[in-house]
Symmetry: D2
């Protein structure tokens, strides 16, 4: 700190915590400039998610697409690490909020980041040539974010989600650039292998979020909100089963020891 640094003031502290998200004063709560009492009873939860992240309310068509994407990702069972750890956490004597936080903490670059990465891929394809872009991504990693699944050959969420985007293009709600980019990638991948590598749920939601104009990092953010529902439902179910300190397998099964004797 230089010696001429001025004495800090309260204003500095207020500014340090400045925000445009909400205005909270005694008896006043405004979300993005809207009094909360005007939203309660009229706005949907999905609509308020849009409002909070974008700064203004969605149109009905935009809201419908967002609802569909949020609905599609809520759960993928206890195989998903985020779900499994939340169930284990719920047996360890911590709050339900701590169990949910434990699950959300795992939605990182690998578990929760594919949508974000796929949005970057789609933007490149939109701006260039699908075959070239796919080849470049493939050279960097064997995983192409948003395409292929170790479990589903055809993800049951694909057709309804992409169908909704197609209808939204017809209705003029979105332009369809990213939908077409995703379809172009699918065609490149289908030519590449005997069995295609279809777009997966991360790819489908990436199309929706890109069409709706969300910046890529919010694909992960929205996935967090969606998957939190499944994490909560599983943690809550586990709570009711009364186990204590649930490990990954029954206590009678021992891990294989691979170290020095």
């Amino acid at each position: 700190m230089s010696e001429d640094e001025r004495e800090p003031t309260v204003r500095d502290v207020s500014d340090w915590w400045s925000t445009s998200v909400s205005r909270i004063e005694p008896n006043v709560i405004e979300l993005r400039g809207r009094p909360v009492q005007d939203l309660i009873g009229s706005a949907t939860f999905a609509g308020v998610i849009w409002l909070m992240l974008r700064g203004e309310a969605p149109t009905p068509g935009q809201e419908r697409l967002l609802e569909a994407a949020l609905v599609s990702s809520v759960d993928h069972g206890p195989h998903a690490p985020s779900i499994a750890v939340a169930r284990m956490a719920a047996t360890c004597g911590i709050g339900l909020n701590n169990a949910v936080a434990t699950g959300v903490n795992l939605l990182g670059d690998v578990h929760g980041g594919a949508g974000e990465q796929c949005m970057a891929l789609l933007a490149e394809v939109h701006a260039g040539d699908a075959e070239t872009v796919v080849a470049a991504w493939r050279a960097r990693s064997k995983y192409l974010p948003g395409f292929g699944h170790r479990f589903h050959t055809i993800d049951p969420r694909r057709d309804p989600l992409l169908g909704l985007v197609e209808r939204a293009v017809s209705d003029g709600v979105v332009r369809g650039d990213h939908l077409r980019a995703a379809q172009a990638v699918e065609r490149v991948l289908a030519a590449d292998r005997t069995r295609g590598v279809p777009i997966n749920i991360d790819g489908c939601t990436a199309v929706v979020y890109a069409e709706l104009g969300f910046p890529p990092p919010l694909a992960r953010g929205l996935f967090v909100l969606s998957r939190s529902v499944g994490i909560l439902a599983h943690a809550w179910e586990e709570t009711g089963q009364g186990r204590r300190n649930k490990g990954p397998m029954p206590p009678s099964i021992l891990p294989t020891y691979t170290g020095n004797p």
Copy 2:
């Protein structure tokens, strides 16, 4: 482990992770018995939250009340520790999901548990006498969960939320027992002091969740889903401001040292 313990089988491992929340098999995703493809495009996000936690879909009237409660709690500004820590986390080089998890982790008994505790209070009042119950709770703690606020004398969310519950009682959606219990507590508190101690947001949402039949711990669970929206919006805003390792105050302000010289 006793020596006669039978050899564990794969079935044990499958059972160890048994669940009634979802069925995930190759090309099959069912949430509470419903194929996910039947929900995408028809169910709302709030409706699926209900489905996942309760096992069946809500009626339109139930869903409307749930939407309102979820909307009402999304944010209370950077004064709330959950919001502040998520903003700080977002400047430390961790994922957006980790920043949200950090915020959610703080929604414990004190920050996120008032609704759960208030539901217990309302159940007691419903089963007994408001004055006696309030006196007993007051004897245990000076905080009465769901009533009073250090900031708002009249919480702007009170009237719209309770108004929706009243309408739902008229429409036969809910019975109104917990609404009347909350009003009885308000009357006891009003008689008790020169200025009343009105029901706060935790109390209002506790009324909603109790009327809708949610078990008390899910009041915290639903608050987690709601507040996650504000946590995400604030963490995302902070990301855009480019600070690194944001502390609670500008670096030029030093904490007071109270220890040995």
Copy 3:
């Protein structure tokens, strides 16, 4: 806020963050009043843990006991939920610190709180009669914190830890009240069953921490520091194995579905 509330000052903010733990000013770092440069190279890590939590440095005898307790709890393999979730977290594309935090988050009342609860039990036994106290605790819960293990009939850490406490009693380092209380509980439990319920690791470390004068909640705090080592070692090993999104069991094993068809 009342209208006459005075304008907040910077002093308030400094005071809001006041601490006696450390003094940090430009070119000054003091831990509990000691310049950090005087500790580097002379104090042990365990000694500084004591200093930071207690405000002054330990005697050599105290430090030796603390080292032993910290050493004893570092790991209990992947069956422990804290270890398993950290390993899963390490495969999800989050930082090593996030993986450790995920594990630590699970060391709650059930997984990490037994030592804290056992210290309360030992204090009661010390002040009263072992048989009566044990009966009272048993009436409240079938688990007696610090005694019995679902896995070990004789915990290999018991004898060396209690032996060190006994030697410290002989050397006048500690008084032995809590050691005797634990032994009294063991005798009560031995009389109670055909096979005894010996003190477990949480009980042994509770004896150490109680003898050393730590308040009960720090039994959990010290366990957190100790187990963090195992959590880190396991998360780091998992990182080297290259799995992605590791679930609790191989992908080919499906959870049993117990819900509606």
Copy 4:
């Protein structure tokens, strides 16, 4: 899954959780092949940290350096986001372990990753030319990991830590390659500016950990273990102050609202 995939066996589940870190069987606890009872009372906590991460015990000289590095990073006051969030967490009604986890979760690429990044820098400098390497890193980012501090012009931990490394070089404990690389970077930076940009604590510990042969990600891992001590001490102090829902500033100071009116 291909159709010919063989039926999974229990062995698969055991293998899925295989580890070389520890062997835990009924009445057996071995850490890296050593019975835990042989470590209790003879190994130091720092020595066991080394054992768990490296697979074998350190020499006394190695252990002394590790102790010094672990001691040096335990705390940097409430300005550090990791400390501040843990203090706030401790007022929200969650466990002490959850408060520590909250702090550790923030030790990410920016807050806890500088040591890891500095080790990569030092390796490059060791293999090449300091001036060229520094120029290349500077071209990518204005922050050079491990050098400079927004607070300290001379970090009081620098001289004692580097002095210990120098002595360890003399004693043949370590080679000194990374110490010389760090000194070369300091010389380049000193020539570059009127006031030098001295090595900071992350740089000093990076030198220690690199000299000791730790892989770069463990610089962050070891920092996590060290800073957990300060996080715990601060969370515990805050617990004793009795605040509830502590925000980043007193409730009377309002954040500046910068959004739409």
